[in-house]
């Protein structure tokens, strides 16, 4: 079952992504999405598509080593905070976080 992609859905998604959209931007998303949706319809016509295992990684024939449990030196506090606009002593400050 596919859900409807509407202006309200777009605004709700944008809101959850913490971005504001103008009316015009909202409309552009809808237009662009129409094309994607048509193409996805096409994809769904590919026989046995559901039996294909989704490809989640670029190389999946890939053997790798896990990292050994060895500590690397921590980054200095000056460097950690050099791009931060609001901090106190050694810590970043944000407006009070209430649950």
């Amino acid at each position: 079952m596919k859900s409807k992609f509407t202006k309200e859905v777009v605004d709700d998604l944008a809101d959850k992504l913490l971005i504001g959209l103008t009316e015009e931007e909202n409309k552009m998303v809808l237009d662009e999405f129409d094309i994607i949706d048509q193409n996805i319809d096409m994809i769904n016509q590919i026989p046995n598509i559901n039996e294909v295992e989704p490809m989640t990684h670029c190389l999946d024939d890939f053997e790798y080593e896990l990292r050994e449990d060895v500590i690397e030196e921590s980054i200095s506090i000056d460097e950690l905070l050099q791009n931060c606009d609001v901090y106190t002593d050694r810590e970043i400050e944000v407006p009070t976080v209430v649950d």
Binding site: S3, I46, M55
Partner: protein, 487 residues
């Protein structure tokens, strides 16, 4: 001829023979950067106070180069061409750049790109659009627009790029130069600002295949900070270039290359495909076997949407660290939600916001299977199809896009219904992590066009060698952009 217009081998020779010093090269490159900046807006930063480097036996020592602005560079502004990072100065350098710097390479500027690589026009960077040096009314394509523009104008022999869909290979084509992205994981992505992690590749833009080999030899290597890298110490790209292609087999896809597939073809497309077929004939004359193969159009037509769905989904998540809390200009707001939202709304361009919304939609629980998982399934079908071909052929050779660079004013970087598989087929190179190189193969109305060669994973030496042989038998190696006037 200016030194910065020469090949890496030639410049190295000149340095070795003391015809020129590192300092003079830097001065030339910075001077040229300023000219190019004025005309085409290719740079986010020009590094005025670069120190000269010692000339060693390494081919790249003491030679200037450019860095796409999505590579993290210690102490140097790194914006990803986004307002969200407009003042961001990292405290660490990307592994690929560190590898170049260790060899004595000298970075002289950071190049403009589409914001975080999410675009194919070179028009969405926060410092403005990049113009095509062959015709400033046209785009460079993107996202590595500034890098392509700078290499094409002779600012230096090479610049780094990144490629998620075709972000190195498309702008290289439109600017008449070489664009190469090696097999996924050959170059570390540590310190590359991510767009879509399963598709992102580092690579390079140069004016010749050999130069591309030299640079990637220097950039590559397994990295403890990137689990997706692998050991490539037995791969020697530069050393393995022989130009001998006897017995090599390549194929091209009928559904993409046959003019009969395009009943409403423009004059440019007709010429582009005609030119491509001429180069196929050239392949045959130098000993390469060429065959036409056929692939289900349904699959080819799904490439673009597959790419959009996967890349937008990963991008939405990858860029969730951009909240203005740890870095970036702090947003305004009484609570943390408003604060983050203010920063993100002001910081991202409309294009990116649209892509985030799409990415978020396709990942929603009720939509995920239909969109995201199906896209991942088609990704596998496409990759398997390509891999099947690699059992028979050394490479797949295809034209890049539907002609030369597009006009800036007509460019809307959106999927539109006319988008043909021809424009987007190079994205399969990202789906499968395949080594893929674009080289110029001709001109249409004085503007460069290109072809692309894509091979199987880990087979980079073979691909570069075929590209080199072809390049050597065409006349477009080492070319510098000349503005053309269309009356």
């Amino acid at each position: 001829m200016a030194y910065m217009e020469k090949s890496i081998e030639e410049i190295h020779e000149a340095l070795k023979n003391k015809e020129v010093t590192s300092k003079e090269l830097i001065e030339e490159s910075i001077q040229k950067s300023k000219e190019v900046q004025k005309k085409y807006n290719a740079f986010v930063s020009i590094l005025e106070d670069v120190e000269e480097a010692e000339v060693t036996d390494h081919l790249l020592s003491a030679i200037p180069y450019g860095i796409k602005d999505n590579y993290s560079t210690k102490g140097i502004l790194s914006t990803g061409s986004s307002n969200t990072l407009k003042d961001y100065i990292p405290f660490f350098t990307a592994t690929a750049i560190e590898n170049l710097n260790k060899k004595g390479a000298v970075a002289v500027n950071k190049t403009v790109m589409d914001e975080f690589g999410m675009g194919g026009t070179g028009t969405t960077g926060h410092t403005g659009i990049v113009k095509n040096p062959w015709d400033p009314s046209r785009m460079c394509a993107g996202s590595s627009a500034g890098s392509a523009c700078a290499v094409a104008t002779g600012v230096y022999p090479y610049a780094t790029g990144s490629d998620t869909g075709d972000s190195i290979r498309k702008p290289a084509a439109y600017c008449g130069i070489v664009g190469y992205k090696p097999t996924y994981g050959m170059i570390s992505r540590y310190g590359l600002f991510p767009f879509a992690s399963s598709l992102d590749h580092c690579g390079v833009l140069t004016r010749s295949v050999k130069d591309a080999a030299i640079v990637v030899d220097a950039m590559k290597g397994i990295d403890k900070n990137d689990m997706t890298t692998w050991d490539s110490k037995d791969i020697h790209l530069y050393d393995s270039i022989t130009g001998n292609v006897q017995g090599k087999k390549v194929c091209y896809i009928k559904e993409l290359c046959d003019i009969k597939q395009y009943p409403n073809a423009s004059e440019e497309l007709k010429e582009h495909l005609k030119n491509f077929h001429q180069q196929l004939d050239l392949c045959k004359t130098i000993g390469i076997e060429v065959e036409e193969i056929s692939i289900d159009s349904k699959l080819l037509n799904a490439i673009a949407s597959t790419y959009v769905v996967i890349s937008c989904a990963e991008a939405t998540s990858n860029m969730s660290n951009l909240t203005g809390i740890i870095f970036g200009p702090r947003g305004e707001g009484d609570n943390y939600i408003d604060m983050m939202k203010d920063y993100r709304t002001k910081g991202f361009s409309p294009l990116i916001k649209r892509r985030f919304v799409i990415g978020s939609y396709v990942l929603q629980a009720q939509n995920k299977d239909r969109y995201f998982h199906n896209a991942q399934r088609v990704r596998r079908l496409l990759v398997d199809t390509w891999k099947e071909l690699y059992k028979t052929y050394d490479a797949i050779i295809l034209p890049v896009g539907s002609g030369p660079a597009k006009y800036l004013d007509g460019s809307l970087d959106m999927l539109n219904e006319d988008t043909a598989a021809l424009e987007e087929h190079m994205q399969v190179g990202n789906f499968g992590g395949f080594p893929s190189i674009t080289i110029p193969d001709g001109f249409i109305n004085g503007l460069p066009v290109a072809l692309n060669i894509t091979g199987n994973c880990y087979d980079d030496e073979n691909i570069l060698n075929i590209a080199y042989a072809l390049e050597s038998n065409m006349n477009y190696k080492g070319q510098i952009a000349k503005e053309v006037n269309h009356g």
